[in-house]
């Protein structure tokens, strides 16, 4: 009879031997020892700098052969990029030091012969939330640069790939036996859609939205728990059932949107999740004063007026404020709100602050987000900010491909979740996510790839950007002092429509729509 002893060799590779052996305590000790050694060395240097220098010179002469042996690099064990010569990879990324800390540094310790150079990212104002300077400036900079690996906003991927400016990756994937089966499915489908069915880039991160709910509040108040993929009407009807309920002398809300939420912010994110837009596809007509937007604003105003949507006044502060203090103003974290609609980044917030503020880990659940009735369970706000791609003219394409392979690896995903940055999740699920049913929701999030791509292109369009900015600035100005009672939705939307039309006309007059408009 066969038993575990027949499979002993397999067990050696995956047994958790030593899993408790090397941890933060050991790392701390190493750092302390280094600090101590450096302090000692410093003292010695101060005490006898001159004689040490003399000794070093003498020593270098006497022991030159031994020193040479010590300083000569040991032979490489396994050549991956180059055994003997430095390999340079030129990178075009919006933030050089950010690239180094997120991707370059872990790659260098795996491939020490690699050096990085940087090409300027187009647009002087590029930042994490604005990577889109316009397709023409981007294309121009791409052609001018010597980049081997480029951060390409997803919105530009269709045009750059169809223009032959990027290398197709499928052949390399096949050659190296790489599969895309462990990528988030919507990310995989959308990136392929952007490349007309071919793979031209790897999107290392994405973000999705979900409905987070407080189980305890639902149970205590006899309200049936929400379900996966409700429509926004259903979610709001459920939230309205908490009207008038109090806990500990404070009102309980059915729905909230984090700390310092405003009605215009809520209209903006819910509208996005319903596929509502501020202007038509050709950017010829504003679409703000429409029945769909009217319905949304009216419901939000009613909910805030009645208190089933949180209507705490905006919290103002001066100087620095800690995240802990800000979290204290989030009704959901405080156990005062039955539901909240938030992005995948909220998982970290809940993990950091939830338990400390009164919402225990076992008290909350997570569901596919509310959305449009016609596409239940889909996340219309799903976002893929950018891909890494290899330019067709890259001089070190093979080395860039090795780097890209590392960026796609589960090791990088595990590292990414240890040092999270921004609001996104890694496209390849980290080990920790595999056993976490809550983050798993985002790894099965479904969205229509064409819609994700269309929205991304629209958001990257400078004309649409100017409309968006004009509308939400006006909305903010007009609603900042108005509670639900005073808000005249019809008048507000007429004003926002006028602002949107002005922005479209201004763009048209400036020739933006024709010159740099369509990405």
């Amino acid at each position: 009879m066969r038993d575990h002893r027949d499979r002993w060799e397999d067990r050696l590779s995956d047994l958790p031997l030593g899993s408790g052996g090397f941890g933060t305590a050991t790392m701390k000790k190493v750092k302390e020892r280094i600090k101590m050694l450096e302090r000692r060395a410093k003292r010695r240097r101060r005490a006898a700098a001159a004689s040490v220098a003399a000794l070093l010179i003498a020593g270098a002469v006497v022991f030159r052969s031994e020193l040479a042996g010590l300083l000569t690099p040991e032979e490489a064990a396994k050549p991956v990029i180059s055994e003997t010569e430095p390999t340079t990879i030129n990178v075009m990324y919006w933030d050089n030091s950010g690239f180094m800390s997120a991707f370059g540094q872990p790659f260098v310790i795996r491939h020490p012969s690699v050096r990085f150079e940087y090409a300027d990212y187009p647009g002087k104002t590029a930042n994490l939330f604005n990577l889109t300077p316009g397709i023409e400036p981007f294309k121009e900079q791409l052609l001018k640069s010597h980049a081997d690996l480029v951060q390409v906003p997803l919105a530009y991927l269709p045009e750059l790939s169809s223009a032959g400016l990027l290398k197709p990756l499928d052949t390399w994937m096949k050659r190296d036996g790489l599969k895309d089966g462990n990528w988030q499915p919507t990310v995989r489908a959308t990136v392929r859609e952007a490349g007309g069915g071919q793979l031209y880039g790897y999107a290392p991160e994405f973000s999705g939205y979900a409905l987070f709910y407080n189980r305890k509040l639902f149970q205590e108040n006899g309200v049936p728990e929400p379900t996966d993929g409700m429509s926004w009407d259903e979610a709001m009807d459920l939230a309205a059932r908490f009207q008038g309920i109090e806990k500990g002398g404070k009102p309980v809300n059915g729905l909230s949107f984090g700390y310092n939420s405003t009605i215009w912010f809520e209209a903006s994110i819910i509208g996005k999740s319903q596929g509502l837009r501020l202007a038509d596809a050709k950017l010829g007509q504003a679409t703000v004063d429409t029945p769909a937007w009217t319905d949304l604003w009216t419901k939000l105003a009613a909910g805030r007026r009645a208190g089933w949507i949180n209507n705490d006044p905006v919290f103002k502060w001066e100087g620095n404020i800690s995240m802990k203090e800000l979290y204290a103003h989030d009704p959901f974290l405080n156990g005062r709100s039955a539901m909240t609609y938030a992005s995948s980044a909220y998982l970290d917030t809940l993990s950091d602050a939830g338990s400390g503020l009164g919402l225990a880990q076992e008290d909350w659940g997570i569901l596919a987000p509310p959305g449009d009735k016609a596409s239940r369970g889909m996340d219309a706000a799903f976002e893929i900010p950018f891909v890494f791609a290899i330019p067709a003219q890259a001089a070190h394409a093979d080395a860039a491909w090795e780097l890209l392979k590392y960026i796609m690896s589960p090791s990088q995903a595990n590292r990414y979740v240890r040092f999270p940055h921004g609001d996104a999740l890694p496209t390849v699920a980290a080990d920790a996510a595999a056993s976490d049913t809550r983050s798993a929701l985002f790894y099965r999030a479904d969205a229509d790839p064409s819609q994700v791509l269309d929205r991304t292109k629209r958001d990257a369009n400078p004309v649409y950007g100017s409309v968006s900015s004009a509308v939400w600035t006006e909305a903010s100005n007009r609603t900042q002092n108005a509670g639900g009672d005073e808000l005249d939705v019809s008048e507000l939307l007429q004003a926002l429509q006028a602002k949107a039309e002005q922005a479209l006309q201004a763009a048209s007059a400036a020739g933006q729509a024709a010159a740099g408009g369509q990405p």
């Binding site: 790392m27 190493v30 040991e74 050096r115």
Partner: protein, 188 residues
């Protein structure tokens, strides 16, 4: 503009960042290898610390390596061999790679996991060091024959032979235990 990363590793914050990265990525590899070499947790802990202190002091040498993992394993091996040579180690060394009495194993028991896992690992740790080392470099660390040969500074043929002998010894031990089990089963 040249942002040659390793050029800056001789001073400043980047050096600390690289150390952090090395420990996070390869700390467990280093610790496990040290344990496989010595069979003692406390010694593995000391060696792992020494390895990263040495790595920090010699980061410039990493430039000539094809990978930090191989480089760190080399330092680990040399550090472990230095431990074996030291008079201190010879004086206090316990027969850790030999079967321990149950009372001595209680802490290790919990740490090593289930009875079956323990049984496999105990058998591996009872192998002579050279056989154990080659076997685990392949089966646990996933190194190729060439990489193991380079690390141990022996020929690939020697590595193959050691792994073959290690496998044979493991199989023989398990075969004997199975026969014992069958005999005990027959008696009851």
């Amino acid at each position: 503009m040249d942002h040659d990363y390793l050029k800056h590793m001789t001073g400043g914050i980047d050096r600390d960042a690289v150390l952090e990265e090395l420990m996070l990525t390869y700390g467990r590899d280093v610790w496990n290898y040290a344990f496989f070499m010595t069979g003692k947790r406390e010694t593995a802990e000391d060696i792992a610390q020494d390895v990263f202190v040495k790595a920090y002091q010699n980061l410039h040498a990493l430039r000539g390596e094809s990978g930090a993992r191989a480089w760190l394993l080399k330092i680990t091996r040399n550090t472990a061999l230095d431990y074996f040579k030291s008079a201190w180690y010879r004086r206090i060394r316990l027969p850790a790679v030999l079967p321990l009495r149950e009372s001595q194993m209680s802490a290790e028991n919990e740490w090593l996991g289930s009875q079956r896992q323990r049984e496999i690992w105990r058998t591996v740790m009872e192998l002579p060091r050279k056989l154990r080392e080659s076997l685990l470099l392949q089966a646990h660390h996933g190194l190729s024959m060439a990489e193991i040969a380079d690390l141990l500074q022996v020929s690939e043929g020697t590595v193959k032979s050691r792994i073959h002998r290690a496998r044979a010894a493991m199989n023989k031990t398990f075969e004997r235990e199975r026969e014992d089990d069958a005999e005990r089963g027959g008696r009851t």
